[in-house]
């Protein structure tokens, strides 16, 4: 294999590849990126067996071929190389020579046939969507995904299609069992998604996708068997879907909330930050005393001390004291953009629902704590 390629193209592909490649793995080849030179392209592929990334970049291919080298190191090298063009040459025993200007590296590689086969779906039927829109939806739900290994069915974002609605809508839901985040958007150009009711896309894959979508433009999506594929310009991201049942989340969305609190998002956020300084993993709850006169937040940690702050708010309903993990609120407020937010509550032991006018199609549900 021998080729030359523009440094910036290669760097872009490697940045995404090294992020997917395993950092530490019992299978060394998973820390590597697969380089395939074919026709006029260099294809870069990285996988952790659940999520796979492929970047296809124009290159001047002198000899076709394939080999794998350590993704992280290759990325670091290219990042530091100052010249616009890079030459990659496969030598004997999977050694790879990388040269640019007066700089030269020889890296130990592994044979390409040791690299796991990443499925290709050429004849899939693709659905097109605006990248920024999908990114917004992912970012508004990803933070609520469970990080617990025992809650496998909650370890991803649930994609649900609402085809009965006109226009067709896509809904993304995530929960860790304590809070839930939901966003729904209409997709006028989309006629149908190729999955039954819903699928669960893994957290790691969604993190990578969110990064990929940063560059904007359009993204193509297809769902095949147990895989979701996202394609955007030179990049293709594949992820194995989570095999599990997403819980019936509709039943936990509170209805008929008679207590409604309205507060400026940034003010509330800053207040929560101040109050949560003295909370620890062990004592993380804060108490909110809410009445028509205003809201008082009290944070009490027997190991550190206590704090309190009050603020005028708009509130309708009976006076109440409700306790929360402030992190759940802060993470929710951070993904919103509305100036004012509304928190609707039933009582101190029922879920609270948070929404804002400028965050269309979005709301979050947070369960209180009992202190």
């Amino acid at each position: 294999m021998e080729l030359t390629i523009e440094r910036d193209d290669l760097l872009r592909g490697l940045q995404k590849s090294q992020s997917v490649a395993e950092k530490r793995s019992s299978m060394p080849v998973l820390s590597n990126v697969l380089l395939e030179a074919k026709d006029e392209y260099l294809h870069l592929t990285a996988t952790n067996l659940e999520v796979s990334y492929t970047g296809s970049h124009q290159a001047t291919v002198i000899t076709e071929g394939a080999v794998t080298i350590q993704a992280r190191k290759f990325y670091e090298i290219v990042k530091e190389l100052p010249f616009p063009e890079i030459r990659i040459l496969e030598k004997e025993n999977n050694w790879v020579n990388i040269s640019s200007g007066n700089t030269e590296y020889n890296l130990v590689g592994l044979p390409a046939d040791e690299f796991p086969q990443v499925t290709k779906f050429e004849d899939a039927s693709w659905v097109e969507m605006e990248a920024v829109l999908l990114k917004e939806m992912i970012d508004k739900t990803l933070f609520a995904v469970s990080t617990e290994e025992t809650r496998y069915n909650l370890s991803g974002i649930y994609f649900e299609k609402l085809e009965t609605e006109d226009p067709v809508s896509l809904r993304l839901v995530a929960t860790d069992g304590h809070r839930l985040s939901l966003v729904q958007k209409a997709l006028p150009e989309v006629t149908r998604f190729d999955f039954d009711k819903g699928i669960i896309a893994p957290r790691k894959g969604m993190q990578e996708l969110s990064r990929l979508l940063e560059e904007g433009e359009q993204v193509e999506i297809t769902f095949q068997e147990n895989t979701a594929i996202f394609r955007k310009a030179e990049s293709t991201l594949l992820m194995r879907l989570i095999d599990g049942d997403f819980p019936d989340y509709n039943t936990v969305i509170p209805k008929n909330c008679e207590r409604i609190l309205e507060i400026e998002r940034s003010t509330f956020m800053e207040m929560l930050r101040r109050m949560s300084i003295i909370s620890t993993e062990r004592y993380r709850g804060i108490r909110c005393k809410i009445s028509a006169d205003g809201m008082e937040i009290i944070s009490n940690n027997p190991e550190i001390g206590d704090a309190r702050e009050d603020i005028p708010v708009k509130y309708q309903g009976e006076e109440m004291t409700i306790a929360f993990n402030p992190r759940y609120f802060m993470e929710t407020l951070a993904v919103m953009k509305s100036k004012m937010i509304a928190a609707k509550m039933i009582d101190e032991s029922s879920a609270c629902i948070i929404s804002g006018e400028e965050d269309e199609g979005f709301f979050a549900v947070i369960m209180p704590m009992r202190l």
Binding site: E148, G177, V252, Y283, R370, L371
Partner: protein, 393 residues
């Protein structure tokens, strides 16, 4: 008498026939009579016997049936844990007035390090007397005390002059005090060690002290060295006030190796229930379950799982233990010891995060059932209600 004599002053306090004494306190008509507190007549054991009953040869841990034979005129009463807990709290409150360094050993027994209290309350022998007086005045019960410079001498001392005893062993008198005592009085000397020692001609602590440390090390390993130090009154262990629990566990060494998975599971159910009950008793829940297995070649492994939500339900803990059991060689290799523990504990004051997806009706029922079982067990004892599978044999 000055502080010089006491570079360290530890008092061991042990209530006299505690459960029985509380019963007499609550029912003065029982005074002077042989009172025996214990489990059921059929299979229970004696928890506590008054000194009058002890004259008949009744002692704790004896089967109730035996006690009835020895002391037919005895007054046999059920265990009232709630009441004993209540009295225990009063007593410990008194101990705490004299030093913050109180290490409870059980409901009715504690070490108190009063080294730092000497300047406030006077010499340790006077402090011990003050504690004794306060306990009688405020609870009507008597306590025996041993005062020494180390924990283990203090513990032996409190036992020597029961009931209502006060034995003081100052630093220079330790050897004189220990030497004539039989070796069983030493901590950690059980049947097996005693056998080894008696072959060496050792009867008293003094005899043991005469043996060279090297010989003891050869015969008894590390424990030998430790025993040798104890005979000289050397015991570095500090009085450790009750600390925050990091884990709650129980383990059991079996007289006969466990060969069968079915038997192992039954033992696990027993252990899981005990652990769960202790968690609930302390108002705790735990997220991480650890199963410990020691095979008969003494090699030991542990297997753990983290739960989605903290638990203190015996059945849930048991079910996870059974899953963990599959990751061991139990059933294939002979097992000497099984242990179950819970860690990553949540304390009662931490607050409880409520969950979105409500737990099953079953889980709520279990919680109510556990509360009911705890109430009954608190009133009587832990063997009053047990799962059916644990009843046979």
């Amino acid at each position: 008498m000055g502080t010089k004599k006491w570079h360290k002053a530890i008092i061991h306090l042990d209530m006299d026939a505690f459960y029985a004494a509380v019963e007499v306190l609550d029912n003065p008509a029982l005074r002077g009579k042989p009172v025996i507190v214990g489990g059921s007549r059929k299979r229970g054991v004696v928890s506590s016997a008054s000194y009058e009953a002890r004259k008949f040869g009744v002692h704790s841990a004896q089967p109730v049936a035996t006690a009835m034979r020895l002391c037919p005129s005895g007054i046999f009463l059920p265990v009232r844990m709630l009441r004993y807990n209540e009295v225990s709290r009063l007593i410990f409150e008194i101990f705490h007035r004299f030093s913050p360094l109180v290490e409870p050993l059980s409901l009715d027994e504690a070490f108190v390090d009063v080294t730092g209290s000497i300047r406030l309350f006077g010499p340790p022998e006077e402090i011990a007397q003050m504690i004794k007086t306060k306990v009688v005045e405020e609870t009507g019960l008597t306590v025996s005390a041993g005062v020494a410079t180390t924990k283990f001498v203090a513990k032996i001392a409190s036992d020597l002059d029961k009931p209502d005893g006060l034995t003081i062993v100052p630093r220079g008198k330790v050897k004189e005090f220990l030497d004539p005592l039989p070796i069983e009085k030493l901590w950690g000397v059980g049947k097996a060690t005693r056998k080894v020692l008696s072959r060496l001609g050792v009867q008293s602590i003094g005899d043991l002290g005469c043996l060279p440390a090297e010989l003891l090390e050869r015969r008894l390993g590390k424990q030998g060295v430790h025993l040798h130090l104890l005979t000289r009154g050397v015991d570095e262990r500090k009085v450790e006030p009750e600390r925050e629990l990091k884990s709650v566990g129980h383990e059991q060494t079996y007289q006969e190796d466990v060969l069968d998975t079915k038997v192992a599971k039954k033992e696990l159910l027993h252990l899981a229930n005990r652990v769960a009950r202790r968690l609930r008793g302390n108002g705790l829940t735990g997220r991480m379950i650890t199963l410990k297995v020691k095979y008969n070649d003494f090699s030991q492994i542990t297997r753990s799982v983290t739960l989605p939500a903290p638990s203190n339900d015996g059945r849930e803990i048991f079910q996870h233990c059974c899953t963990l059991l599959e990751r061991t060689d139990v059933g294939k290799r002979a097992v000497r010891l099984l242990g179950v523990s819970l860690s990553q504990l949540s304390q009662p004051g931490e607050g409880k995060q409520l969950v979105l997806f409500s737990r099953t009706v079953g889980a709520q029922k279990r919680e109510r059932l556990n509360q009911a079982i705890d109430k009954i067990s608190d009133k009587y004892d832990d063997t009053t209600i047990v799962p059916g599978t644990l009843l046979e044999s």
